[in-house]
């Protein structure tokens, strides 16, 4: 029974991780950069949701789209004002300055954490639940209504994202840009707009994850650091830039941590993912679902 409990809990945690990691994987897949401010997109979503719902008295179900909007806005602004100089004027990704993206996104992360700390305050702020059932029995399992809703919304969002990427015109354009930015550009695709959409989608996913978890994780200004670190691990395990890889890796990590914490040692819970990461890098450096690439 405990094993089943741990498995279900691991899957739920894995779904939370996946919501965060997929956005990060998209950005890497399309733009080949790591967004170090991704955790702060999550934090902005959590705060927008909580402040709108508690401060303005807006029903939580309406505060959720507001958080998504805030995520889209921060994603758009980051790409438009901070990322675009990275590739404007360059004909090839080979000429891109990777360190620029690292420095800029890392700086943005620090700026946002400290800005929220000073403006909103350091106190953790628990968001209202979408389903106010703090203790729910579902057969042999116990969980809060919020956790259940979060898991359901996470599944819906990831399926929608997969359909969007596969079926929509914008999604196909994004795929083309991911394969060859210059080629896509020659074929008439607006690569800047594709990058913008990717950043907005990434912001939306992270912000919704933050909003959904606001009643569970009690957001504070540095709340995004922890899930962001997990996301980096997941993205590498799944295969840099692979969306299905990130989802599978997130679920795997959630379950691994859940079991490891009880059957091995709770003290090393966060190291299990890192051990897996090292193994993957040794045995399959491109990640579970990544493809070997060669640059010419």
């Amino acid at each position: 029974m405990l094993a089943l409990d741990l498995f279900v809990n691991g899957l739920i945690i894995g779904l939370y991780y996946a919501l965060m990691a997929v956005g990060l994987a998209m950005i890497f897949g399309i733009l080949k950069i790591v967004n170090f401010a991704h955790g702060e997109f999550y934090m902005i979503g959590a705060y927008t949701y909580t402040l709108i719902a508690l401060g303005l008295g807006v029903p939580p179900w309406l505060a959720l789209p507001a958080a998504a909007l805030a995520g889209a806005l921060i994603g758009w602004a980051t790409e438009r004002w901070l990322m675009r100089p990275l590739y404007t004027g360059y004909g090839s990704w080979g000429l891109m300055k990777d360190e620029y993206a690292v420095v800029v996104t890392f700086g943005l992360s620090l700026l946002l954490i400290n800005l929220f700390d000073k403006v909103i305050g350091p106190y953790p702020m628990r968001g209202p639940a979408l389903w106010d059932a703090p203790r729910l029995s579902i057969g042999p399992f116990m969980m809060s209504g919020q956790k259940l809703i979060t898991a359901a919304v996470a599944i819906i969002l990831m399926v929608s994202l997969a359909l969007f990427i596969k079926r929509s015109l914008w999604g196909r354009q994004i795929q083309a840009v991911a394969q060859n930015r210059l080629g896509a550009s020659i074929a008439g695709i607006d690569t800047a707009r594709a990058s913008s959409i990717v950043f907005m989608a990434s912001g939306v996913l992270a912000a919704i994850a933050g909003a959904l978890l606001a009643p569970v994780i009690n957001p504070a200004p540095d709340v995004g650091i922890f899930p962001a670190v997990k996301s980096y691990v997941i993205v590498v395990i799944g295969g840099m830039g692979s969306i299905p890889g990130s989802i599978i890796a997130a679920l795997l990590l959630g379950v691994l941590e859940s079991f490891g914490a009880v059957y091995l040692s709770y003290d090393y819970r966060d190291t299990y993912g890192l051990v897996l990461l090292i193994l993957i890098l040794l045995l399959r450096p491109q990640g579970l679902f990544g493809e070997r690439a060669r640059e010419v």
């Binding site: 691991g10 350091p122 203790r135 116990m142 969980m143 200004p221 540095d222 079991f259 009880v262």
Partner: protein, 405 residues
Amino acid sequence: MRQNRFAMAVTAAAFLSLAQPAQAADPVVIGVSIAQSPPGSVVQGTQVKDGIEIITKMINDEGGVLGRPLKIVYEDNQGIPEKGRAAVEKLISRDKVVAITGGHQSSVCLAEIEVAHRYKVPYVNTNCWSDDIRAKGYPEVFNPGNYNTRVSTAMAETIGAMKVKNVVAFAENTDYGIGQAKILGELLAKQSPDVKYKYVALDRAGKDFTPAVLPLRANPPDMVVNVMLPPAAYILMNQLYEQGVAPSAKTWFYDGAGIADYPDFWQNVKEAGKYMLAFGLYHPQMPMPDIGQQVGQTYQKEKGHEPNRLIFQGADSVLQIVRAIEQAKSTDASAITQALKDMDYEGVRGKFKFSQEPGYSFQQWVDIPYVTYQLTEVDQPLSKTTLIQATGQPLHADKLVRPSN
């Protein structure tokens, strides 16, 4: 020539006489190192700072110290030991502070006291609970705040009186958390050998403690003890409640981290905080000197809610340094250190003298007053909670109430 010399002497005397009052008005500077930004506990840092601001204003309104204004220079240590070390180094060498205070995270204090000890500058530890800070035996370090052995002793007595048999503690993986959990285990082994006790170390940055909580569902203990600080403590409490582990009809929830009087406590825990048993260093029913009451009232007026222990501890730390300067009639570091060591101090929270006994009680306010109380309603103000043990009084376990499920 003689006239010229006379004119120069008069000019110099005039300069000196003009310069003298300015020098007399130079402020006495105390350095405060606290967490003002993440990842440190900014919540604690803010409260310590609020208390310091209140007492500084009160002191300056009454003419300052030795006729000079009191000035506080703050440094943000971000709750990181290396930053704390650098902050104290800067306060001493650049800002020329006469003493350091404000510390509220044990790992940071442990780093900071090394610098204070090297420069022989007095260091008044506001709220670092780890016994290791005292055990170092540094003559410059004074501890008017709480310490792990004090909490663990109080908790072990309470656990013994409640006749529980099986206790699980969740402790944060810090000097403070692990230290307190270990001492509690040692004391229980001595005082109540029948009690089965174990502790689980949790990451203070963690967001999901469900895997640590799930094994307790099948085999619930009689009591779960919290040795974690917010926000991790709030998350743990919510997950214990969500899984039906504690507080419940079978399992008590006992807080040993003093979180119940944090201003954001109820907003973050709601139902999970009801029936919690708490160790407290402040309760409105505790006797308090006039100056302490004044600090509390000023805080309540300014912030609109009840004060908590950290307000008083912050205020007390600065007041104690000021009293030592007054007693020493000097701002010389060694004179202040000697005065702190010798003086009978009556401060914001009461009257005491530092113990000189080596170990965890070295330069410590050993009999620091505490209470034990229970929260019986959601959103309950501290003043309405049930006092189970008043300061220095026996414990009334019969006043405790349990949830029905």
